[in-house]
Point group: C2
Chain length 366, copies 2
Amino acid sequence: MSQPETNLAIVIPAGGGGTRLWPRSRQSTPKQFLDIVSHRTMLQETADRVEALVPPSRLFVITNARHVDPVREQLPEVPIQNIVGEPVGRDSAPAIGLMAALLERVAGPDTVMVVLPADHVILNGDLFRTTLLAAADAARAGYLVTVGITPKGPDTGFGYIQSGASTGIEGTGGVPILSVKQFKEKPKKEIAEQYLAVGGYYWNAGMYIATVSHLRDLFKTYLPQMEAGFAKIVDGLIAGNTGVMTDVFHTLDKISFDYAIAEKAEKVAVVPADIGWNDVGSWARLAEVLSHGKHESENIVVGDHIGYDTHGALIYSPGRLIATIGLDDIVIIDTPDATLICPKSRSEDVKHIVEALKARGDHHLL
Amino acid sequence: MSQPETNLAIVIPAGGGGTRLWPRSRQSTPKQFLDIVSHRTMLQETADRVEALVPPSRLFVITNARHVDPVREQLPEVPIQNIVGEPVGRDSAPAIGLMAALLERVAGPDTVMVVLPADHVILNGDLFRTTLLAAADAARAGYLVTVGITPKGPDTGFGYIQSGASTGIEGTGGVPILSVKQFKEKPKKEIAEQYLAVGGYYWNAGMYIATVSHLRDLFKTYLPQMEAGFAKIVDGLIAGNTGVMTDVFHTLDKISFDYAIAEKAEKVAVVPADIGWNDVGSWARLAEVLSHGKHESENIVVGDHIGYDTHGALIYSPGRLIATIGLDDIVIIDTPDATLICPKSRSEDVKHIVEALKARGDHHLL
């Protein structure tokens, strides 16, 4: 892994709106731009994680236009022409398709494009990189490859990938590469429990690996109208003209890559990976990450806290003292203009608070 | 009640340290100086409550020397020579004894002195005033009189007064005036339940009514050494010299009027009173006061709150939004430098937070 694989290119879609970690994440600073897990932001950690695989010139980010400046600030080593701003969010298919079209022109059709979400945690970086190299092997053999996270429980918050027989490909590091039988939507609890009992099911973490030429073909097949717009945008981007992008992007359908392409494509492979992955999709999931290696009754505290008979709390309060009495598994997130307090088990209901703020028209708090 | 009873003088001891409503109450601004129940401070409400009984010239306050200025600001109608600053807190016996000695000189020995704590809530002001007038009748007949609050439950947080036979005194408004059999310390739960079952037990609210000459005699009998110091202090106060007070006060014993005098005196009477009293001795008790007339599941909010599946909360947050999910009977008190979060049922444990702050040496938060 000391020799960068110059045939790879990493594409990081960083367009998430980030309401699930309100009040820390806001529309102006979604989760991926926050130093919520370590002293580095989640975007920086995502880039750090592939530093050993590709040079910065092979790192690309596509984000909302208004977040281009934060990306440049957080990833100063990435060439500014590698950072693409979407005038409007159109979900993952337009983002991935456009980046494939751009990479075809600037890096060539044989490039293996690796799509990595900007806001996930991966504790085992070495195994993750080996997994990506194995996935790249399968991509070169003509597969659209995804990474399948070994499930830790019957979670109903993720889509699942049902694996089939081995592809027969010999992956880097001996990592198995399986064919994909089917993508499954977020299941009910009983179904998720069945998946775990039967085995061969993995969490879909939204990572995709394929050659640029393969991706281009998939878009031509499944989203031909959308694909037609990409060439014009890429011409504009290379000429330094973002006006074309603004005009064309608004006309594109809002649709996910999973739904429009991955679920329909033939020759899809999955690389199972037990890499300490976490999507940090709620305060409870962040607590899982931060309490790694600690006893579950320990409090996780950023800032100043005095707890009397308080156990298993997640407390973020850099600005003032939080004093708690007689509380178990509570989440307390204190920011200058808003404080959230809820049990860990209810942290996914933050969406209702965000909805209430929208209904009130309190845009400064969103 | 339209004719002020010029024979009365009201003395308000306002020396409480106020840690039980931390973080709103601090050493610099104890509970009595806060507008915690209404737009008036508790001290102001205490003074307002007796406005119909005495003119401001008959209202006296004894407080910690560093709180004399806040008292002057909050009660501008009270003559400044009526506001006495203690150089150091010595509990209630020295405060009451000194004020009796002062009143003997400035108002005469026949004055009926009414001692009213500065930080209690009384919802039924009319009945309260009638109660005090009846108590004054008994005081003139030679009794040391206390007000006995009709208990609302087997509370273990108060001392109890066991009543005996009627004194036979015809009190104002037909209010019964009973002899006191015994003062009882804060009881255990089972004992408190017995008191309620048996009847004739009242909560001790720390209100005392007696003539000045009677009080002087009681101090001469039970605290003769302390009594000897009062004359010198009063000479100094009347001459505008607080230096004597500073010298003498430090030498006085720290002891409560209940323990040193009331429990030992003969001819003690109690006037039972169902006046909507609350000592606001914890956040839970404040919630009781503020939720008066509301359904118990309603949230009591000062400031901005969005609650999702939140019931029976007490929330104070004038400075920022508090968002809560899935919490019942929670107390959230937000101030610029500290926030308290605890279930109502645990609000008396705030003392442990205050202890922890003392142990940390965090004096700016106390």
